[in-house]
């Protein structure tokens, strides 16, 4: 049945997307299979006993993993909900309301993306630490509150820091949906007497559900495997998360097999999460907001509330980047950080940390390689991601739902585990120690972002648009390039921007695939974060952020480049 259906689908011109998705699927699944194979080997690095289930027996006999899993689920669920919810709200404000200062407002939720998560961790620790944190210090100094109100080393502190970092992804995923809305859906509600808020809750938000779940799944998986926040904020608060078992297996035991077996728990969680996503979107027509009837964005006049929404965007901008950025700037120019020195900062200024960073010859040397590779990776992953999403949702080939899982699977593995799989594949081949291996590694690592973004967006396009083209005898390329891709333009811009920003600062996946002597990325800059030299890291981070902010602003205002709108 399946074979017959596929033969029919191929005759109808789905050969290329199906083949391209299959090739991409093989590239993505291979390192995953290799590390899965490793999980069935015991022993440690350097000697191996093949084919046994020792690692799994250890994982499931580990009584500590249940409280850890519980912590992980609370942390990942909380962060993803905060980030995706807030991102969605900001996307709705920007796309659908008459909030003033449009040009600025549409960009404000994106700037926090430029700040690497570890910079945010450090900034929020400095702000929220119980005894030495700036906010607790201010409460004590100005209001006499001696009890530490804020605690960076708590579950709430962890969810706040990572959740805030998840907002841009939620925003990027939901903005295209709110921008590409068939107005008749809401107009019908208005004609039936529904008020704007009611319409928003009953019509607008439910229709954005696939993109919301898609972003939620990504943010959830990112949080589940994130390591910096649990290490820097969780460990001092005695909050142990599951992923630390994966890292201990690598860092303490040097046992890839065991690390992978622990990662398989993350894979199972990912598959469960994806299963819910696939179920929620199985009748994709329900969520189609872009139909053949043409669409234009209807901006809702929210009256004086527009100032509230403007304030909300500004508040996020403050929390997402402005306050952490200012804290880091101050930390980078004072000799050392403690509350007293911070508060008397103008009298203790110095540029030594900047001199230290700029003296490093490799600071800018690696930038060329990483910029080039990041651009290529962003373009390739986004294109292939759309082709795979197109294959699943638009071609008539049967069994393509499997790509839904394959395309997201790399996200379930912590970067170090994933890169081990890539090294095992490449070692001994001419690709090893070349830019090709590094490029393929980054492709595998970032494909889930491109794919989930495209998958969420494509569900919102009604099939009637391409069906009209199919009926008129169009081949897949006509449908893809003339119908689907132009409608997906906002989502494509957002994904390109996101993957470029993420790839340019990637160290975790790239580190094992970088050849000796090859300088990739602003290695020196991130090395300060890796070794915990906060003042120098802050100085380097400020320089890095200024470069990116200037680049984005110039691209946006001088060259009229659109990242999301």
């Amino acid at each position: 049945m399946t074979w017959k259906a596929n033969r029919l689908a191929l005759r109808q011109g789905s050969l290329f997307p199906l083949c391209a998705s299959t090739v991409a699927g093989i590239v993505i699944i291979t390192p995953v299979l290799v590390i899965m194979w490793r999980s069935f080997t015991s022993g440690k690095m350097g000697f191996t006993v093949d084919l046994n289930v020792t690692n799994y027996l250890r994982v499931f006999a580990d009584k500590d993993i249940w409280p850890m899993l519980n912590n992980s689920l609370v942390y990942a669920g909380g962060s993803a909900l905060l980030g995706t919810g807030l991102g969605g709200l900001l996307a709705w404000i920007v796309a659908r309301t008459n909030t003033p200062g449009k040009g600025l407002v549409e960009l404000m939720p994106l700037y926090p993306l430029l700040m690497p998560p570890i910079m945010k961790n450090i900034a929020w620790i400095l702000l929220l630490a119980p005894k030495s944190g700036i906010l607790n210090g201010m409460l004590e100094q100005f209001l006499g509150i001696t009890y530490p109100v804020f605690n960076a080393f708590s579950m709430a502190g962890m969810i706040w820091t990572f959740g805030i970092a998840c907002v841009p992804l939620g925003y990027l995923f939901l903005l295209p949906v709110f921008l590409s809305f068939d107005p008749s859906l809401e107009e019908s509600a208005y004609i039936a007497g529904s008020r704007p808020v009611h319409t928003m809750l009953k019509i607008t938000f439910p229709l954005a559900l696939p993109a919301f779940i898609s972003a939620f799944v990504l943010n959830f998986l990112r949080a589940l495997r994130s390591f910096e926040t649990p290490v820097l904020q969780g460990t001092p608060g005695n909050i142990k998360v599951f992923v630390s078992r994966v890292y201990d297996s690598m860092a303490l035991e040097f046992n890839t097999g065991l690390a992978t077996a622990y990662s398989v728990v993350l894979v199972i969680l990912s598959i469960i999460t994806l299963y819910f996503y696939v179920r929620a979107t199985r009748f994709s027509e329900r969520y189609a907001t872009i139909t053949g009837k043409g669409y234009r964005v209807r901006v809702i006049d929210i009256g004086p509330w527009k100032y509230v929404t403007f304030a909300a965007v500004c508040l996020y901008f403050l929390a997402g980047i402005a306050i952490p950025f200012v804290v880091l700037i101050v930390v980078s120019i004072i000799p050392y950080f403690d509350y007293e020195t911070f508060m008397t900062f103008p009298s203790h200024m110095g540029l030594n940390n900047y001199r230290t960073v700029l003296r490093h010859a490799s600071f800018l040397n690696g930038l060329r390689n990483s910029v080039l590779l990041s651009v290529v990776i962003a373009v390739v992953t986004v294109f292939v991601g759309i082709v795979m999403a197109f294959t699943i949702h638009r071609t008539r080939a049967v069994g393509t739902k499997i790509f839904e899982f394959i395309g997201t699977l790399p996200l379930a593995f912590p970067p170090l585990v994933l890169s081990v799989g890539l090294v095992i594949i490449f070692v001994g081949t001419p690709l090893y120690n070349s830019l090709w291996a590094l490029g393929l590694g980054l492709f595998v690592a970032y494909f889930p972002y491109a794919f989930r973004n495209a998958s969420g967006a494509i569900v919102n396009i009604h099939k009637e648009l391409d069906e009209a083209a199919w009926v008129h005898g169009a081949r897949w390329r006509h449908v893809f390039f003339k119908v689907t891709l132009p409608i997906l333009k906002p989502a494509v811009g957002g994904a390109l921007f996101y993957i470029f920003i993420e790839a340019i600062r990637n160290v975790d996946v790239a580190v094992l695939l970088t050849a000796p002597g090859l300088e990739y990325g602003p290695v020196t800059l991130f090395e300060y974060f890796r070794v915990g030299q906060w003042a120098e890291a802050a100085a380097g981070g400020v320089i890095y952020l200024i470069i990116l902010i200037v680049a984005v602003s110039v691209a946006k205002f001088a060259f009229k480049m659109k990242f999301s709108l």
Partner: protein, 389 residues
């Protein structure tokens, strides 16, 4: 790319996938070593080489002898190393430090092109052993602290006994100790008075310090676990060791997985005492005027940083020459210039034990080979039952 090249790559990739397990055959001796270590740590340490400690300053004769031996070995190795032409170093050291070190080496020995790859210890071990299992002659030297003994335990290090061994504070007959990691008991001078400070590592576990201490996670292969290993070796008293651990646990203090981040929090005033901090970090901050200090009566923990020569090194002569040069007077000066502690007894620097603690200080060396080669097994055996029990 040519079609036939792609075919070769595809075949090589497939072969890698399906025949990777076959590489495990050549790792059997390493397995035995670790097994033996788990059963009888002392015997295994002896077999693997073991660390030798020379705490007294090297005599003038030893210094002269080392200089002569270096000159001879340099003259012998350089022509062969020049013929090899390359040197590839895997290291945990900062990129800029590696740049300075390799450039100084290339200047001293023209004709040898030195390149490096930098990663963290787990990344170094993972990469080195994956390449070793794959039979790759991919690098020459691993320059690090935790990584070389672990790679050696897996059979990935070639034995090399340095000719300058008589002047080393910590000497391993199989790998050259080129630098030392020195851990100190640090404190925030604004948060605790000198009179109230603990006088020993053991006193840190006193209940009066509850709420003041930042502790490195004893269950990771970090500074605190290496300190515990050093104390256990020195005390030779299990009851005392277990009691110390119990008291430390009873403090209920937060533990940290990043020593540097923990030290920053001590500077910020979140904690008063840092157990432990790296001496060169403390010295650097003191030099900048940061309100931190270290307790001079508490013996520093000394951990070897080694240059291990890869078992499948494509340039073994260049690798040996590099290890010898790092220990030579010129190499030690270069190491000191980047702020890293030197490994020779006869080399004076601001971070040497003698200048930081005085002549009479007896440091606490980390020499338990069982701990160095398999920290996880060691922690499971001696620390976990008490810490997580």
């Amino acid at each position: 790319m040519q079609w036939n090249t792609m075919m070769v790559m595809a075949i090589a990739l497939s072969a890698n996938l399906f025949f990777a397990p076959a590489f495990s055959a050549e790792k059997a001796p390493a397995k035995e070593t670790v097994k033996e270590a788990a059963k009888a740590p002392a015997a295994a340490a002896k077999k693997a080489g073991g660390q030798q400690v020379k705490s007294e300053a090297a005599s003038a004769t030893a210094t002269a002898k080392a200089a002569k031996a270096y000159a001879q070995v340099s003259a012998e190795l350089y022509p062969k190393a020049k013929q090899e032409g390359n040197l590839i170093v895997y290291s945990v050291w900062d990129v800029e430090h590696l740049r300075v070190i390799t450039e100084a080496f290339m200047k001293r020995y023209p004709g040898i092109k030195a390149t490096f790859w930098q990663g963290r210890n787990p990344e170094i071990v993972t990469r080195a052993l994956t390449e070793f299992q794959g039979g790759q002659a991919s690098f020459d030297v691993v320059l690090s602290d935790n990584a070389p003994p672990v790679i050696r335990a897996a059979g990935g290090i070639m034995d090399y006994n340095t000719v300058q061994r008589d002047v080393l504070y910590l000497h391993d007959p199989n790998m050259a100790t080129v630098s030392l990691q020195i851990q100190a008991l640090a404190f925030n001078t604004k948060k605790i008075k000198p009179a109230d400070l603990p006088k020993s590592w053991e006193e840190v576990a006193s209940p009066k310090y509850k709420g003041m201490i930042a502790l490195d996670d004893p269950m990771r292969a970090g500074p605190l676990s290496s300190m515990l290993s050093g104390l256990k070796t020195q005390w030779k008293d299990d009851a005392r060791f277990n009691n110390f651990l119990r008291n430390l646990k009873a403090l209920g203090v937060p533990v940290h997985k990043s020593t540097s981040a923990m030290f920053r929090l001590v500077i910020s005033g979140e904690y008063a005492i840092c157990m432990p901090a790296l001496l060169h970090d403390v010295m650097e901050e003191m030099h900048k005027g940061t309100p931190v200090g270290y307790v001079k009566t508490v013996p520093p923990v000394v951990f070897p940083r080694q240059a291990g020569i890869y078992a499948k090194s494509p340039n073994p002569n260049a690798a040996k020459l590099f290890a010898e040069w790092l220990i030579s007077d010129e190499g030690q000066k270069t190491t000191d210039s980047i702020g890293r502690e030197t490994s020779r007894n006869d080399f004076k620097s601001k971070t040497s034990i003698e200048s930081a603690y005085g002549k009479n200080m007896k440091p606490l060396p980390v020499i338990d080979q069982f701990f160095l080669e398999d920290p996880k097994a060691w922690l499971d055996k001696f620390v976990k039952p008490i810490w997580e029990g």
